[in-house]
Symmetry: C2
Subunit: 256 residues, 2 copies
């Protein structure tokens, strides 16, 4: 099977134009098929504040009321996505920006209200990769914003780490998928203050142990859960890394 | 050649959810290949105002400073575009939202500063329809936002009427193109206050005469210039109409 590199970038990396340019320079170095999945939470929070909409987070997840969904649609689907697309086109990479609504790529279900009402947040139900694969085969580079739809006209806010994992899992049937979770740090660290404490390989036993010991904290847990799920679904490699180390394969590698 | 219907919708039609739904109900009735090109200026003005950015218009054209370009990118490329895409998906139409940067679809040049500095406004230089045609052949329905790029990473704000005409002209080599400019009124009216005064057919001689007599005013002139240009480039039919009359072909038909 052909190799497909799926890179999820979040945090400050995509929201500051200098670090975004550095990331895109690294990204285009990957030869062959590739997909970029991005976040944009900081900009959404900033724009929301300017519009007088308060940001409410529960365990790192954004409560998405109607106004906040509009902000997410503007920022993720518009501002961040199209800047990345234009930046890749400038580098000779034939990018296309997509949300889960485009091409009916990712259908989700509004998260049922239990203890917390997350609002217009979607849990992924189905990935339809037919047209996406057609585009990839034409050397197009999809750039995916963290938005899905319910198939009944409702857009939904969906975690970008989850989208990267779900896409990787679906595409593992057609490609040899390498998934990179790319953020500010060099990998998963035993000591958050010590860059040299990156865990080179993490299996599920060690992951559980580190969770129990409180070494791996709440922000990282869903990302790793997503990563392990992707591995179980046949994704060839899952690496937690930063833009500088993407290409040389350094970081935290998940193993089953 | 296969028929391709290109519908440009602007003004209030796409920005009020009730009229948008009515439009989408009409739009999906067109069988076969179709493209929707949309505006979104009112929402952009509204969001800009909330963000403290002043809107400046010269002869109906928006002056697009850096902040206003961000608003245009958010509103046209994000909010309006993705709502339409989700609405079409809900109607079983496999829509994809695109700007001119996506798939390198429309390259433009920042308008040179002469008497007026329009800011980040782009004049179309080139349309690349290769991947777009591939999508159309797969029954995908492109939804195009009025944004282009310069190929060097800069997004540009570009008039939606112009985008519709340029796309129509390019695609006339591959399809039998029917272009509909769809707005609030039934067509081009001799008397702006009399709905029954719609001009059924307009040729370039009559267009010049009406311009000289001040019957056709400044807002309509660029739209009609675009429409006549599309006709000269081989577009089969250009009709100025409203959502209710799109399907029955009533309105103002341009003839050479």
């Amino acid at each position: 099977m052909d190799r497909l590199t799926i890179i999820k970038v979040g945090g400050k990396v995509v929201e500051d134009s200098e670090s975004l340019n550095a990331l895109l320079d690294q990204f285009i170095k990957f030869s062959g098929n590739k997909i970029l999945v991005h976040g944009g939470g900081r900009t959404a929070t900033e724009i929301a504040a300017k519009l007088g909409i308060e940001t409410e987070m529960v365990e790192g997840r954004r409560i998405t009321g109607k106004s906040m969904l509009d902000v997410a649609t503007m920022v993720y689907g518009g501002l961040v996505n199209k800047k990345i697309v234009a930046g890749l086109q400038a580098r000779g990479s034939n990018a296309i920006g997509l949300t889960g609504a485009d091409l009916n790529l990712i259908t989700a279900r509004k998260r049922p209200v239990q203890e917390i009402d997350y609002g217009f947040v979607g849990d992924v139900v189905d990935v339809n990769s037919r047209e996406l694969r057609m585009l990839i085969e034409e050397n197009v580079v999809p750039v995916i914003a963290p938005l899905t739809h319910d198939g009944n006209g409702q857009l939904l806010n969906t975690n970008a780490d989850t989208i990267a994992a779900e896409l990787s899992s679906e595409l593992a049937d057609f490609f040899s998928v390498y998934l990179f979770y790319c953020f500010e740090k060099k990998g998963v660290q035993v000591n958050p203050d010590d860059e040299s404490s990156v865990i080179p390989e993490l299996d599920t036993t060690l992951f559980q142990q580190y969770q129990q010991e409180g070494i791996i904290n709440s922000g990282m847990i869903p990302k790793l859960d997503n990563g392990f799920q992707a591995k179980r679904n046949g994704v060839k490699e899952v690496l937690i890394t930063n833009p500088e180390n993407m290409a040389n394969g350094k970081g935290t590698r998940l193993i089953l």
